[in-house]
C-alpha cells in the first residue's frame, strides 16, 4: 500500500496439539520488522511497536476465528496442523498494520496444505502432484483500516496514514472489520481524545473499506486459482513450481483502480533436499520430499517475480474496469508458490503511487539460475 511493502508466507507442519485443545490446530504468527524497512528498527529485539503489530495481526485473525482451527485436526489429541504465518515488513511507508493484515489474510486465503488421509492413526500425506492440495477453511476476511487523527478534538482524520502523516498525527485508531458488517477488532490506545461519534463514523468507513478490500482480495485469489489450475494441466510430473503474479493497483488522484494481472507459470525439477515437516509416528508417508526454495527473486524493478518458464504459458495482462474508490490507494501483489512437500503461499502487498507507475509493464524474465532458499 503506497510505499509500504509486506511479505507474508504461510507454512504448515504437523505437530501435537495443545493439551487443553486436542481437537484444534493452531496458528503461529511471527512478525519481523527488519531494519531494511526503516532506520528505526533494529535487529534482534523487536521494538514495542513491533510487538504491538504482531499482536494486532494475531488478534485480528486468531481471536476473530477467521480461519477454522477445528478443521486443522488430523488425529484428535495426537496430530494437528500447525499453521505458521511469517510476516516480513520490507518497506515502511506508513500504516504497516493495515498492510500486514491484508498480507496475512491474503496469504492464508491463498495457502494450500497437502491433502491427507487418515486410516486409524496412520496418516498419509500426499504430495501436491498426487493429490491437489487443500485450502484452509476461512470463515471471513478481517481487514484492518487505520485512521490518523489530527487537531485537538480529533475532528480531522485521515484514512491510511502515510509515513509523514504518521509522524505528525496525534492519535491513531485501528478498526478491523469484515465484509459482513462485523467489527472484529478495534484498538485506540492513547493519543488524542476523540469523541465517540467520530469513532463510530470511522468504524462505518472502515466497514465500507473492508468490504471493498475483501472483494479485491477474493477476486485476486480466484484469478490466481484459475491460473493455478492451468498450471496443473501443463504439469509434466516430478517436482513442480508455479509462480503467479497478481497485481492490482488503484491510482489515487484519478480514483480509477486498474487491475493488472499477469502470471507466469513455470515448472522446474529440484533435487531432494529433505523435508522440514515433522512426521511423528506416521506409518506410511512418502519419505523423500523434495523441498523447494521459496524465495521469489527480488530484481531491481519493483517486486517483479522472476521464474523459469519451460512450459509454453505466456504472461497475460488483464485490465478490468476501473471502479470508484476513495483517496485510499492500494495494490495487491501476490506471489504464490506451490511445492511438492511444502505448499506455501506468499502474498506481497504492494502499491504504486500514481497512475504512471501502474502502467509500467511487468516483465517476467525467465531465468534458469537455481534459487536460494528463503530464510
Amino acid at each position: 500500500m503506497g510505499h509500504t511493502r509486506t511479505l507474508a508466507v504461510v507454512t504448515a507442519d504437523i505437530v501435537r496439539p495443545r493439551p487443553d485443545r486436542p481437537t484444534e490446530g493452531f496458528f503461529l504468527f511471527n512478525t519481523e520488522l527488519s531494519p531494511m524497512a526503516s532506520p528505526q528498527f533494529e535487529v534482534g529485539r523487536p521494538s514495542p511497536s513491533g510487538i504491538a503489530l504482531g499482536m494486532h495481526i494475531e488478534k485480528a485473525i486468531k481471536d476473530s476465528r477467521a480461519v477454522d482451527a477445528e478443521a486443522l485436526c488430523i488425529v484428535s489429541g495426537e496430530k494437528v496442523w500447525q499453521i505458521r504465518v511469517d510476516i516480513h515488513i520490507l518497506d515502511d511507508g506508513g500504516n504497516m498494520i493495515d498492510c500486514a493484515s491484508i498480507a496475512a489474510i491474503a496469504a492464508l486465503l491463498h495457502f494450500r496444505r497437502p491433502d491427507i488421509s487418515v486410516v486409524g492413526s496412520e496418516v498419509t500425506v500426499f504430495p501436491p502432484d498426487e493429490r491437489d492440495p487443500v485450502p484452509l477453511s476461512v470463515h471471513h476476511i478481517p481487514v484492518s483500516t487505520s485512521f490518523g487523527f489530527f487537531s485537538l478534538d480529533g475532528a480531522n482524520f485521515v484514512v491510511d496514514p502515510e509515513i509523514r502523516e504518521e509522524s505528525v498525527m496525534t492519535g491513531i485508531l485501528t478498526v478491523t472489520t469484515n465484509a459482513h458488517q462485523e467489527l472484529c477488532l478495534i484498538n485506540k490506545a492513547g493519543g488524542i481524545s476523540v469523541s465517540l461519534a467520530h469513532i463510530l463514523r470511522c468504524s462505518k468507513i472502515a466497514a465500507v473499506k473492508a468490504a471493498e478490500l475483501s472483494e479485491l482480495i477474493t477476486k485476486s485469489i480466484e484469478e490466481d486459482h484459475g491460473n493455478r489450475k492451468l498450471a496443473d494441466k501443463t504439469r509434466s510430473g516430478g517436482a513442480e513450481r508455479s509462480l503467479h503474479y497478481v497485481q492490482a493497483s488503484l491510482a489515487p488522484q484519478t480514483t480509477a483502480p486498474l487491475l493488472e494481472f499477469s502470471s507466469s507459470l513455470s515448472t522446474k525439477t529440484f533435487g531432494e533436499n529433505g523435508s522440514r515437516r515433522k512426521k511423528k509416528g506416521v506409518a506410511s508417508t512418502t519419505e523423500k520430499q523434495p523441498s523447494f526454495p521459496v524465495s521469489p527473486e527480488q530484481p531491481t524493478s519493483a517486486n517483479t517475480v522472476v521464474s523459469p518458464a519451460p512450459s509454453s504459458t505466456t504472461p497475460r495482462t488483464v485490465r478490468t474496469e476501473p471502479t470508484d474508490s476513495d483517496s485510499e490507494e492500494e495494490g495487491i501483489q501476490m506471489l504464490a508458490s506451490t511445492y511438492n512437500s511444502e505448499p506455501k503461499a506468499v502474498a506481497v502487498v504492494d502499491d504504486w503511487l500514481g497512475s504512471n507507475e501502474a502502467s509500467v509493464p511487468r516483465a517476467n524474465v525467465p531465468s534458469t539460475a537455481p534459487k536460494k532458499p528463503k530464510k
Binding site: 478534538d153 469484515n178 458488517q181 478495534i186 492513547g190 493519543g191
Partner: protein, 235 residues
Amino acid sequence: FVCSNMSRVEYLTPEGYRLDGRKATELRRIKSRLGVFSRADGSAYIEQGNTKVIVAVYGPREAAIRSKSKHDHAVINVEFTQAPFATGDRKKKGKSDRRTIEDSLLIKQTFESVVLTSLYPRSQIDLYIQILQSDGSVLAASINAATLALIDAGIPMRDMLCACTAGVLNGTPVLDINYIEQNAGGPELPVAVLPHSGGVVLLEMNSRVPLDLFERLSKLACDGAKAVYNLLQSE
C-alpha cells in the same frame, strides 16, 4: 456471540438481574483510598466490586536510562503485574507474558496523552500497577486507580481519566462485567474517557460483533465511564 459449548447459565435473568444481583447497566460499588504508600510519590487503592488494584506512582524523577528519556517531555513507564493469588487458581504471570506486555503498553500510551508530560522534560514517571484480586474489568480498574494515584502524586493531567468495561450477556449490553461474565465468552470493551470533554482515549475490543451492537456497547461504556467519574468525584 454465544459459544456453543456454554452451559445454560443464566447470566441475565428475564427480570434483568445478573449473577450478582445487578441490573444490566449497574456499576459495582467503588471504594478507593489515596496515599496508601508512604514512600511513593503517589499511590491509590481501588476496589471495584471484588476487583482490587493498587497503584504506586514515582515521579517525575530523573530518567534512569538516559537513552530512553525525551528532551522535551517526560516518559511514562508502566509496570502492570497481577499477583499470583489474584485469580481463583494460583498462576504466576511472568513479566514477558504477552497479555501483560500488551496491557502495559496500552496503559502507557493512554496516560502519555493525558498527563501533561511536556512540563517535565528529560524525566520519567513510573506507574506500578499491581492487581491484588481479579474479578473482571481489570484494565478499567487499573486505569481508574492509576488516575487516582497520579492525582495523589500531584502530577498535572488534562482531565481525570475514567474507565469502564462493557460486555454482552444474552444479547444485551451490560456494564462492568465480572470474572464469570468475562469468561462467558462474549465481547469485552474497555473504554477510558475524559469526562469533561467526553473524548475517548482508550477503546479496545478483541471480539467479533456486528457494527450496530458495537455502537450500543460503546455508548454504554462511555456512559459507564462518566458514571465512574461521578462516583470517584464524590469519594
